[in-house]
């Protein structure tokens, strides 16, 4: 008999996430990995500002809520004074790629031994679907109502590619929540990132292509297809940095 049980890494509450949003599943994957690695008791999570602001309600670990964009700086502070603890941030693309790009790049450059879970849904979800640095060219958002255009707004920011060329980054992979096979790969990537942290290899970042059906104005299934057909070509999946392979 196969019994489906909630991960020990998740609290027993309903999330506030919208129907069809991939945050819930991504939380589950992170929780399962922490449980499987046996590190729930020594993990400290850092929630960001955005939809994941309430992450501290959902993980069965110690948690702190960071100011907008500052999750990697907060994580640096925690990890430096408690090097034997497992420290991760859970951030969105606006939080990490826009307001927090400096904190994130420099945490990576210092080789902070932390893990960053980045949900990239190409929009600001919590505030109601504004244009993000990762919004696609032509994407209609509440602050790019005629569609994002390169001349005015610049191009989509390729976060994994940026972080891959930073010396201190030990592991960078872009994965997607668009279908079962990719979700499995996402979990594998997350596990690898935390394993690298446990082995003291340094900074790891897993960029997860995610959906935001409500702000995209799509049904959940349409959103998954849209992410697959439109986001992945701009944000190709794969391992962008692996210190164990580059040596």
């Amino acid at each position: 008999m196969i019994k489906y049980e909630r991960s020990q890494g998740l609290t027993d509450v309903h999330t506030h996430y919208c129907p069809g949003c991939t945050h819930g599943m991504l939380h589950k994957l992170v929780a399962e990995v922490l449980e499987e690695l046996g590190v729930l008791g020594k993990t400290i999570g850092v929630a960001s500002v955005g939809c994941s602001v309430f992450a501290y309600e959902y993980f069965e670990t110690d948690f702190i809520q960071a100011p907008h964009g500052r999750a990697c700086a907060v994580a640096t502070g925690i990890k430096r004074v408690s090097p034997d603890r497992v420290v991760f941030t859970y951030q969105g693309d606006g939080d990490l790629g826009s307001i927090g790009i400096a904190e994130s790049i420099h945490a990576a450059n210092r080789g902070e031994n932390i893990t960053v879970i980045l949900a990239n849904n190409a929009t600001y979800g919590m505030t109601g679907g504004q244009m993000a640095p990762t919004s696609l060219v032509g994407q209609v958002t509440t602050t790019s109502q005629l569609g994002r255009n390169v001349a005015e707004h610049g191009s989509p920011l390729k976060i994994s590619e940026i972080f891959a060329q930073i010396n201190g980054a030990a592991y960078v992979e872009r994965v997607a929540m668009t279908d079962i096979s990719n979700i499995r790969k996402t979990k594998k990537a997350i596990k690898k990132a935390f394993t690298y942290q446990l082995e003291g290899k340094g900074f790891s970042l897993i960029e997860v292509i995610s959906t935001c059906p409500i702000n995209w104005g799509m049904k959940p299934r349409e959103a998954l297809d849209w992410a697959k057909e439109n986001m992945i070509p701009i944000y190709p999946l794969g391992v962008y940095k692996d210190v164990m392979k580059n040596d």
Binding site: K42, I64, Q65, R70, V81, R110
Partner: protein, 356 residues
Amino acid sequence: MNKVLMKGNEAIALAAIAAGLDAFFGYPITPQNEIPEYLSKYMHEKGRVFVQAESEVAAINMVYGAAAAGKRVMTSSSSVGIALKQEGISYLAGAELPCVVVSVMRAGPGLGGIQPSQADYFQATRGGGNGDYRVVVLAPESIQETVDLMKQAFDIADIYRNPVMILADGLIGQMMESVDMDKPVKKRHVEPKTYALTGTDSHEGRNVITSLGLDPVYLEKHNNALKDKYNQIIKHETAYEMFNMEHAEYVIVAYGTVARIVRSALDMLKEKGIHVGLIRPISLWPYPRKAFDLIPKTCKGILVTEMSMGQMLDDVLISNKGRFPVGFYGRAGGMVPGPEEIVDAILNFKDKVVES
């Protein structure tokens, strides 16, 4: 007693280590650079944490993280840099985390200059961060007092789980004075940090640190609890010095290095047969309002002197409750008043009156 000649910024660094500093996070800015410079060496030697952050914003957020982990943490900066830290200070206050922030004031506004100033009194005591919160602000007048207050600041921060700011000016930071690093300070009881994020394998249940409160009923309750705490701080941590007050004809109010200059002015005035007292607030928040109730009836006026265009002046006007005429004499932009200027201001008090 073991006195050594030491520069203010170095004394601040050593006092922090003596107070049990676990981690320092900072970013370069004049005139406080010697603090991170010294600490980068001393903290390394002691096996403690020193990180030069990518910005003041990052530094204060590293402080937030390390304070959440239950450690004694500090950052230092100056005017423009303190402005950038205000968001983080609001978070620390809101989430009730302890830390020490050293602010070595330079002249403003904007990029301003690097000479001594007291133009950040509002920034320190009113704060630039959002929301109803308070930061304990302690203003030393000598390097010895800076060292003593540094040691006390960490205890006050831990006792009340609140940021404490040491507000010095460029003079304190840059001058050299003899100082006894081992001078004992009052031992305070500090509760264990049961709130600290150390992992659920080290404490009961789950520890969560946040300042988010979308439910207004909850958030008002939290604000009321903070207010109760601030009232306790007002009751127990207000500090000031009164000097030469008996039968004073005038009273000068000054803090930090300006108070030292005033002391010389008092001697010069005494030679002229004019008896002038000094109120020197040591805690700028909580402000020593009660000291003003002790001003004798012989007083003909209160002169506020600051290296600013009149910021502490507001607190004096509140504290005076209209009892005495209040005058103001200030210098700005990095100019330091000489004692003879303060003597002149008393001799020509009528011209200095801002509220009679």
